[in-house]
Amino acid sequence: MKILKSWLKDYIDIKLTDSEMAEKLNISGTEVESVTSFLDSNVVIAEIKDIKKHPNADRLRIATVFDGKSDLTVVCGAPNIEVGQKVPLAKLGAKLGDIEIKKTEIRGVESEGMICAEDELGLGNDHAGIIVLPNEYKIGKPLSEYVESDAVFELEITPNRGDCLSHIGIAREIAALTGRSISKTPISLDMNSANIKDRLSIKITDKKLCPQYMARLIEGIKVGPSPDWLKKRLELLGLKPINNIVDVTNFVMYDLGQPLHAFDADKIDGKEIIVRKNKPNEKVKTLDGVERIIKDAILITDKNKAIAIAGVMGGNNSEISEETTRVVIESAEFNRKNIRKTAKELGLVTEASYRFERGINSGSVEYALNKAAKMMQELAGGRIISGIAKEEEKAPNKTLEIEYEKINNLTGLDLSVSEINRILNSLGFEVKNDLCIVPFWRHDIEIWQDLAEEVARIYGYNKITPLALQEVKAPKKSTYYYKEMVKDALAEEGFVEAINYPYLSEDGIKAANLKTKDLLEIANPIQPENKYLRNSLVPGLLKSIAKNPSFDLILFFEVGKVFSRKNENNNLAIVSAGKNAKNEIEKVIENICVRFKIDKKYFNIKELTTNELQKFKIKKPVVYKSELNLDNLISLIKVSGEDLELKLNQKRINYRPVSKFPAITRDLAFIVDKKIESSAVEETITEISELIARVELFDEFTSDKFGVNKKNIAFHIYLQHPERTMIDKEADDIIKSVIKNIEGKFKASLRK
């Protein structure tokens, strides 16, 4: 939701800078997603140091200005510049409206910025000369710190706060936060002597669906474009101005939060507007030109036809056109749940339905109507017919007991009754004795806890004292701890944990030879790959193998949920591929069985067939897999409490993003002392350059031919640049440095 700072000033005098206002809104619960200030922070205060004539233009001069850091040359056409003045300087890169200030040559002289006039900064209409700033403004500071300018605030309004979907709503928040109050001008209308009673009446068939419906009639209007100020406000909110009638309805919606609708009165048959439920399969062609079949909606109808889907969108049969001279303005309150249901069913969420669904200010329906009527008359002329056609059965205000003691206890704040009352008053609550009357716009306030939140958020969450928790009881060791222990056992044997997507696509099902009747199916996936839930971890892990062709040996495991039509449980799957695949998977399973005292029969190791490998696009010749129900396995595990301690990784991690550019591979073999850990060498190599993407040990063996107590260790070294293709020369230099480092640090010798 976009809010314009200048618009808020219709209601409250704001003395806050843009960032102060954002901060206040943020810490009181209105999240500010962005602030676009009109005055760019690259417009700074600068001092004119020197002025020279322009060699090629009589009207231009060359000024040397100091921006707090350096002297800049700026070509200027203003007649009123003088040495010693403080002036607003738009530096290179500053944005003034849609224009970005760039280095330009003006009649042969390069200009490094612009000294600005009032209109260029959006601060007024004066273009006669540049603004001369007061002497106390500090050189180099952004001008926005000193002068008022406009800004657009993009806010995230949570679904409970429909009242904040308007400028008056945000003005109320700011009033409460700054201890001020908003001023709402009463509306007086200049009305015609004719009475609406003779021309229009309202009938509501069920007031539960529509507690209030009001309409005014204006005759003799002239439809045309809106004035610039109105167009500008709407455009800044991202709306397209249409005409002076429609624009007023939109203006009032963003102003007061009350959605309005304007009908061409001459297109309404008869003298009565009837608000009713739809008939079965009734059709309405809406303003967007779509004919819609209505299943469940409140309709606005005349004698013969539906003219609008209440609270959602008007009908195109009664739309305002250039020829319209008589306008009926509708201002109403509809049942929140009904509007929500209709908008969902039609897939038609509009600014109006969005607000009705969240609840409008039920106390301001008539005010909004009057404000719109007044504005339309001002902008489009015509006569407002006296009186309002209406039916209403407005719900009374909610009253709530203020539980002062409970509020203080829950928040830990020790606030006096009068302090709590003051805060509630500032938010529009009326307090009588220990009761408060909830304002008509706050549909979210239902219980004393809601009041506690109001009090605490305005008073300040930062004033709440943290309270330590008492008595710590040793937690029970649940399944989670057993799963983590099993993961450790696998990682210790060299296996890498994958977390794969738990879905299967149609293609994946075919490749894995699964039957859809065994699978849980997602009814509404927006991506085709999310159509089914996996009933096995293996297809995912086989894809994982296929994705890593550059590794000689691939050892993966995954622990995760699998789903059948009736059930879900944790599975464990292990896969191995490449050289030594069989040995590795057998060894890890053997170890798990010994460690957790489990019979090996629970594990079933299978080699994949050539056909299966092809289906999964795996290039490795040997692949083994094993999968079992981990929940069952855990029930068999016998360990002591200590084994279930969670272990943290002590390894220092220096994460490097995976580069998209091709890698250069070099192999190096070293002869080192038998006692040296290959992992220590590996770590050292990795740290030699940021461009070493990966180091992989591929050979390690002892032999007397290297000398007593010596061994051979060999690594693949992958060199890769994050932003471009690496060149051979760079790789050579790094490899040289690797050799030098390893030879020095580990007393190693390169094996040639």
Binding site: I27, S28, G29, E31, P159, N160, R340, R358, N409, L410, T411, G412, D444, I447, Q449, A456, R457, Y461, N462, I464, T465, P466, L467, A468, L469, K473, A474, T479, Y480, D488, L490, A491, E492, E493, F495, V496, E497, A498, I499, P502, L520, E521, I522, N524, Q527, N530, S544, K547, I554, F556, K561, E568, L646, L648, I653, Y655, P657, V658, S679, R694
Partner: protein, 226 residues
């Protein structure tokens, strides 16, 4: 010959669990496929209220759903355990969204719930501040900001100051009386707090990982770094 690797999400979750373990929280894991009651209605998120739209839900053909948050475990756990309740739920959650570098259809969340006599907002503040200091060091600045979650009242987001800017890391609040009643717990006798954090985002922050999809890519060049 080579040592393997645990997924960074597993490692980070352990760190978090260990901290809450030291504060006396039990670990519970609820179902990932659940029904509308536990995931929404029991948590004061009725289908006829716009708060339901905040989360894009995967619905299953059998009428059930993939949990959108670990909060589905709150009422389930409370049905089987009497207060005082002090538990955390690490687990996978789902959102029916188009994926990009910031959005995933699946992610790891960790829920916390504490219900006892006389639990106050100050207890929630202390717990989360203690947790964040253990993760980020004692110097970390923490702030609580009001926010709406239907299952808590008051509700708040928790920010930390990160590289000079406030960054949201947790959602939290005092358990809503309607939720306590759905747990068959008397809100006049008991109160509590709940919180939730997204593990994926914190892992990304910790290592400077730019694309969330990297976490689920099974790319050994990525996984072997952890």
């Amino acid at each position: 010959m080579q040592k393997g690797n645990l997924h960074p999400i597993t490692q980070y979750t352990r760190e978090v669990v260990k901290i809450f373990e030291s504060l006396g929280f039990d670990v519970f894991e609820g179902p990932e496929v659940d029904n509308e009651w536990y995931n929404f209605d029991a948590l004061n998120v009725p289908s006829d209220h716009p708060s339901r739209d905040v989360q894009d839900t995967f619905w299953l053909k059998n009428g059930r759903l993939l949990r959108t948050h670990t909060s589905n475990s709150q009422v389930r756990y409370a049905e089987k355990n009497k207060p005082p309740i002090k538990m955390i739920v690490p687990g996978r959650c789902y959102r029916n969204e188009a994926t990009d570098s910031r959005h995933e259809t699946t992610f790891m969340q960790l829920e916390g719930l504490y219900i006892d006599k006389n639990v106050k907002i100050g207890h929630l503040f202390w717990t989360l501040e203690t947790f964040l200091k253990k993760i980020y060091g004692d110097a970390i600045e923490v702030r609580f900001r009001p926010h709406h979650y239907p299952f808590v009242e008051p509700g708040m987001d928790v920010d930390i100051k990160y590289q000079g800017k406030w960054l949201e890391v947790l959602g939290s609040g005092m358990v809503h009386p309607k939720v306590l009643r759905n747990m068959k717990i008397d809100p006049n006798k008991y109160s509590g707090y709940a919180f939730g954090l997204g593990i994926d985002r914190l892992v990304m922050l910790k290592y400077g990982i730019e694309d969330i999809r990297q976490l689920y890519s099974s790319d050994l060049r990525f996984l072997k770094q952890f």
